[in-house]
Point group: C2
Chain length 342, copies 2
DNA sequence: TGCGTAAGATGAAACGTTTCGATTTTTGCC
DNA sequence: GGCAAAAATCGAAACGTTTCATCTTACGCA
């Protein structure tokens, strides 16, 4: 026998012989109800397989127990890993995740945010598709938002990211320490904090060592495997071929490696390569990669924790600082893709 | 100047000097409204930055424009890729995705489904964590559900998957064609359709060739990198070491490769390896992997399309067959990790 | 015994939409 | 110009909760 429609609070109330308000009180534990009636209500709910309707609840309370997560590129393995951390924390706290993929398109991102708002999400986690001032209004409205990984320029609010400057610095110092002098960089759009910071770290290290950063060996602007590949071809065909390269994300790194393989430029013999983001599967790479590893899942965990803390404070009406910035340290893992010169 | 709270339909109605019903009609285009008033309403909505409240809308209509997606393991690169396909189709149709990670735990999966229902999702996509009869009630209730990848045993309903039997068959035939006779298999839990089918394909190929499937070279039950590693150690320490192995998923494959590397068993010289799931990054593997590739994103696209079609039929009250099964063909990609014997 | 009080229980009003039947206005036609 | 029909508009109920003010009950104590 199948019910036509799900049981409602009224059904439970009727069956238990109490008022709807009492059922609500029992379900939420918001008021004292005699043990006897509470028991009756629970039994009734059980037998009707009653499940509170979150939609109705949200409409009334203005809270949804859902948080939105907006990422720029779901096919970049970095983000699913972050999400996994965020999901872990969220589900433990009884929150669900609405996942949105902006496809590196700021306009799409705006649309997604707007959809999220109309679904009344309690807060959002965003890795932005491009730096923009569109977030300012959110912050001004004091809407609970936490940025992770990519943080808008000049953003004042909560955020979690890796110390990308330091990552770029260490990666480059490592190359320099191996006596490389013609060092190239393949970097993402400079409007993205992550890539801009890594590039800055690179510049700083070069400057420290008194090495010039020449325009032709400084390729900025891609993000994809293909762009890494194109940049790779260009760099490896330079009259003064670089002996080392720093790729600021994993996808461009893959593209660069493809270019090197195609041109028959051996790594690390003729080109040392250091990239970003470490994964279980890179242990099978040949050569194994020297990499700046980010605490990926931890970024997700921390960002979600920050957001949930904020939400709780909001619920309890207590004061919370909404510009908590967490910077996690990356770790340079030296393996085989970088080798000393001479 | 910032509004205390979001503008509601009533606000728009007031400003436009019309009734709430008229505003609704304009927003949804459900009734004919004179051009003049429609214009006024739109202007008012614009100026108030009005956005319809999906929550209230859902409560009234019983529809949420949200679909749930439940996967067993978000850290398995296969699923994010499927999701990316599903997300693409969904967002084009104006649907959002609630993503849930069951962590290979059927009880967690049940909890997640229950949460999804209370959020009134319009339908769900599920890759099950374990075969169970708990889905029967869903199907009986005719709740819109589409399974993908992993399909519960005996399930009668809509589903999208790869032809896993054929995948296992081809992979094994390939090894046999290279004159291997001592062929091992590292497979996932046999309660999972994917792994069971791949194992069946393996058995069939072995039987065709008149080769015995010995218990000790048939490791069934893991899913993770670690279990692939453990199985790998066991298999490679067998007195009669297998000369080839078929791993039924990408994670176990990674584990197996680690074991081989650790024991110094060269691939493909001493062990040929074929696995499942191809990725952009495997091109950097050494050796490059012979792999059964699934049309991963396509699985996501098709599954979501199936679900949305069903939802549309439901909305329009038209009849739809709710047991549409789509089986996509995998493709064996022969590369360097398998080599001929003798 | 009676009274004050606290605990328990409840009815009804929201929350922001959609939708339907009723009402008003416009249109077309003889 | 009058009338029927079509078009446009509207008021109000409903969706399933939460919550608050109100009402009832029971208990302890003088």
């Amino acid at each position: 026998m199948v019910k036509k429609t799900d049981a409602t609070m009224r059904d439970v109330a009727r069956l238990a012989g109490v008022s709807v308000a009492t059922v609500s009180a029992v379900i939420n534990g918001t008021a004292t109800v005699s043990a006897q009636r509470a028991q009756k209500v629970r039994a009734a709910a059980e037998s009707l397989d009653y499940h509170a309707d979150q939609i109705a609840r949200s409409l009334k309370t203005g809270r949804s127990n859902v948080v939105g997560v907006v990422i720029p590129d779901i096919t970049n393995a970095f983000y699913p890993e972050v999400i996994s951390g965020a999901e872990e924390v969220a589900s433990q706290a009884g929150y669900s995740l609405i996942l949105c993929n902006a496809n590196e398109d700021p306009r799409q991102e705006q649309r997604l945010l707007s959809t999220l708002f109309s679904h009344r999400v309690d807060g959002v986690l965003v890795a932005c598709s491009d730096s923009s001032t569109a977030y300012d209004s959110l912050v001004r409205r004091r809407f609970p938002i936490v940025f992770f990984d990519r943080i808008p320029q000049g953003f004042r609010g909560s955020a979690v990211s890796t110390d990308n400057f330091s990552g770029g610095l260490e990666a480059t110092r490592h190359l320099i320490g191996m006596r490389h002098t013609r060092i190239a960089i393949v970097a993402g759009r400079s409007t993205l904090s992550t890539h801009a910071d890594r590039l800055e770290g690179f510049r700083k290290a070069m400057q420290e060592a008194g090495l010039p950063v020449r325009d032709e060996s400084c390729r900025v602007g891609g993000l994809t495997i293909d762009s890494g590949y194109e940049f790779g071809l260009e760099l490896l065909r330079l009259p003064e071929q670089p002996t080392a390269v720093f790729c600021t994300n994993n996808k461009m790194l893959l593209g660069f490696l493809r270019a090197a393989r195609e041109l028959g430029v051996a790594c690390p013999e003729r080109i040392s390569v250091v990239g970003f983001d470490d994964y279980a599967w890179t242990e099978n790479f040949h050569p194994q990669l020297t990499i700046v590893a980010q605490p990926t899942r931890e970024i997700g965990r921390q960002a979600m924790t920050l957001l949930l803390t904020r939400l709780q404070a909001l619920r309890e009406g207590s004061r919370s600082h909404d510009n908590h910035v967490i910077v996690l340290q990356p770790e340079l893992r030296v393996r085989q893709s970088t080798a000393g010169l001479l």
